[in-house]
Symmetry: D3
Subunit: 166 residues, 6 copies
C-alpha cells in the first residue's frame, strides 16, 4: 500500500476555524495532507502568502501529518509536481457547490482524470464562516476570537489595530 496523500488548497486569507475543521478531519482520512496557500500575484490579499503560510503553520501544530506550503500557477500542475492525486475541498453551501463542481470538472479535464477532487461538508457550526466575512467583521472591531485560530486572531487584531484604538 502506498501512502495516501492529498492537497487542501485555497487562499486562506486568513485560515478560519472552518478550514481547521476540514483539516482535522482530513488528517484522519489521509496519511499526509498538504495545505497549499495560493499565491496569486494579481490579487491584493490582506496577508501576504508568506504571512498566510506562517499563520497556518502556527495554527496547525497539533496536526502532525499536515504540512503547509505556498504555490503559484495551476493547482493541477502543483499536484503533479508533488505526485499527489487527490484534492480535498470543503463544501459549505449551494453557491460553493456549483463553483466547486465547475472547478472539479475543469481540473479532471486538465489532468486527464489523473487527479480527483474529494469533498467534505463543512461542520454545521462553521458553515457560516468565510475568510471574507471574518476579515470584514475584524476590520470593524467585531469579536472574531471564536472564529479563527489564536495566531490568526492576534494577527488580525494587529492588522486592524488602528480601528481598535479608535
Amino acid at each position: 500500500m502506498t501512502k495516501r496523500r492529498a492537497i487542501y488548497a485555497g487562499s486562506f486569507d486568513p485560515l478560519t476555524n472552518g478550514h481547521v475543521d476540514i483539516l482535522e478531519r482530513g488528517a484522519d482520512l489521509f496519511d499526509e495532507l498538504i495545505l497549499a496557500v495560493a499565491n496569486n500575484r494579481n490579487k491584493k490579499p490582506t496577508f501576504s502568502a508568506a504571512e498566510r503560510v506562517a499563520l497556518s503553520k502556527a495554527s496547525l501544530e497539533h496536526l502532525k501529518n499536515v504540512s503547509v506550503c505556498s504555490f503559484e500557477g495551476l493547482l493541477i500542475d502543483f499536484a503533479r509536481e508533488q505526485g499527489v492525486k487527490v484534492l480535498l475541498r470543503g463544501l459549505r453551501a449551494v453557491s460553493d457547490f456549483e463553483y466547486e463542481f465547475q472547478l472539479a470538472t475543469m481540473n479532471r479535464n486538465l489532468a486527464k482524470a489523473e487527479v480527483e477532487t474529494m469533498f467534505l461538508m463543512t461542520g454545521e457550526t462553521h458553515f457560516y464562516l468565510s475568510s471574507r466575512l471574518v476579515r470584514e467583521v475584524a476590520s470593524w472591531g467585531g469579536d472574531i476570537s471564536s472564529m479563527v485560530p489564536k495566531p490568526v486572531f492576534e494577527a488580525l487584531v494587529a492588522k486592524f489595530e488602528d480601528k481598535y484604538k479608535v
Copy 2:
C-alpha cells in the same frame, strides 16, 4: 408592552420599489422601523451616504413610523446602540438566501443571540429588482421610472443626464 422596533439596513444605492415594498409591509409589523444606510468608506457608491439618506427620506414620507439614518461599522453594534433587537431583511432569491443565512448566523454569534434577523419575501412584482441592475439600466438611458420612487428616479436621471443628452 414595550415598543417593537426593527432596523432595515442596506446600501440603498439607490432605494428601489422592492425596498419600499419591504418597508411598507414592515411598517405594519413593527411600531418603529429604522432604515439604516450603510456608509462603507471602502466602497465608491453612485450616491453618497448623505444623498442616499435624503433620497430615502423623500421617498418614505408616507410611512410615519419609518425613520432614516446612516451608520458606519458593524450593524450589530449599531443595533445595540439603538437598543434594537430585530433586524429586518428582504429575501428575493436563492443566492440572497445563502448569503443572508451566513450573515444572520454570523450576526447571532456576534450578538450572543441578543439580536434576531427576521425576513420577508420580496413581493412577486419586485423580485427582479436590484439596485445594481437599476443603476446599470439607468446609466444606459433605460426607463426605470416604474422601478424606483419618484425622487430616486429624478436623481438617477440627473446623475446620468450626459447619457440622456447624447
Copy 3:
C-alpha cells in the same frame, strides 16, 4: 399598542429541537405565539393530531406565551378566525426557501395582503433536522435523544419499541 400575535404552523410529526429553537426565539419576538398543528385527513401521520398537540404542549411548558392547537383547512382561514396577521416560518435550506417563497406568495394573494409571513433562519446546530429524518432514524433504533424534546423522544421509543426490543 395592540398585542403582537403570530401563528407557527406545520405538521410537527413530530416536533423537533429545530422547531423548539424557532419557537423559543419567536416567543421573544411576539406577545403571543400559537403553534398550530395541521390536521390533514388525507395524510397518514406517525402521530395523530391529538397526539402531536399533546406532545407539543408537554415539550413547550417553559414558554409561557406559546399556546398549542390544531387546525384543519387553509392556514389563511385559520389565521383570520384567530385574528392573527403574522405567520412565522423557519427556513433551513434552499429547497425550503423555494417552497416557502411560493407558499408565502400564494398566501398573500389568498389573504389579499392582510396576512404576512415572516421567517427566521433555523439555528446552525439544527438545520440538518427534519421530522421525516428523525422518524426514519428512530424507526431503525438510532439515538435521536439529542434531536427532539424529551416527551417526543419517549413517544418515539414507545412507537418503535418492537425494533428496540429486537
Copy 4:
C-alpha cells in the same frame, strides 16, 4: 498503514453508469470499496435487494477491490459493524447537495464523528442520470442501453418486455 475502506451505499434500483463512474473512481482512491444495497422493507423497489446485489456484482466484475452486499437498518450501524469509517457519496446537483448535507451532518451526529462522508462529483456525462429516470424511460421502451451496465440493461428489458412486445 491500515487499509483504507469505504462504503458506497444506496438503493441502486438499478445501478446506472453514473454509479459505475463513482465506483471506478472510488476504487482508485480506497483499498477496499463496499457497494451496500439498502434493503428497505417499507419500499417497493423495481428489483428486489437480491436482484440488485446480483446485477451490481455482474456489472462490477472489472473492479477487483469492490465487493457488493445488502444491508438493512441505519447505514451508520452497518458501517460500524464493518469497521468502516468512510462513506462515499456522489454529488450530481444542487438538490442532491442539500439532502446530502443534511444526511452527512445527521450521520456525523449519530456516529459521534467516528464516520465521515466523502463526496465525488458525478462525471459530467452522467449527471443527468438517475435510477428513477432510467426506470421511467425503460418502462416506456426508451433506449437506455448507453445509460446502464449491460446486465442491468438486459434485466430492465426483461422486466418491461410486455411493453417492448407491444
Copy 5:
C-alpha cells in the same frame, strides 16, 4: 421556410394561468404550438386525461395556433411521430431548473440531438402557481379564481363542491 412547430407537454392537472402565460407567449414565437397532456396510467390525477384536454381546449380558444391533444409514453417518441423538433418548457424556480436540466439532457440523448428543449421563464406574477398548490387550495375552498382560467375554476369548484357546501 418550413413551419416552426413546438410541443408544450405536461400533466396540466389542471391548467393554471402560469401555463396560459407560457402558451400565449409561445404562440407568438412558433407557427404552431401543441399542448400535449401526458396520460400516465400509473398516476391517479384529479382530472382524467380526457377532462384535462377538454378544459385546456376551453381555456385556450383565443389562441388560434395552439392545438390540444393527449399522449402516452415517451415525449420524445410523441415528438417524432408529430415531426416536431422543439419542446417548449416553462421555468419557474431553481428546483424546476435542475429537474428540467436533467430531463432536457436525457431527452437530447434519447433523441440523438434531433429534438431540442427551449425554455421561457414564467411571468413574475405567476411563478408561485403550481397545479399541486392550486388543487390543494381549491380542495379547502380557497379562492383560486385569479389563478386558473374560468373553465378550470368551474371544474375545480364542481369537483370539490362538497367542501364548498360545508
Copy 6:
C-alpha cells in the same frame, strides 16, 4: 411567414466551445442568429470588442446563418434597432438561472413584453466552461485547446505567451 431572428448577446471574452454549442443549436432553431458582442466601456476586457468580434467571426464560419457584431448600451434597445424580438441565452447552472431570471424579467418590463428571452441548456460536456475560468487557466499555461475554438486558442496563447515562454 416572417423570418425568425434571434440575438445571442454576451461578453464573449473569449468565445468558448460552450457558446459555440449554443450557437450551433440556435442556428438550427432560427432563420437568422446574431451574435452580439457587448462593448462595455466601463470594463477592461482581455480582448477588445473588435478582437472579440473578429475571433467570433473566425470561429463561426461554418454557421451560415450566424452573423457577428458588437453593440453598446441596453440590449433591449439594440434588439429594437435590429427589429429582433427574441433573445437567446444559454443556461449552465443554478447561479446562472437566478441572474438570468432577473435579467429576463427586467428586459420584459423594459421592452413592454415585446422582446422575449428563450433559453437552451448548455450541453452536458460544456457546462463547466466559463470565459473567466478559461482565461484564468490559459493565463497559467493550462491546456485549454479542447475548450475553445482554434482561433481563440491561438489568440489566448499569443496573449499569454510570456508565461508559456517561462
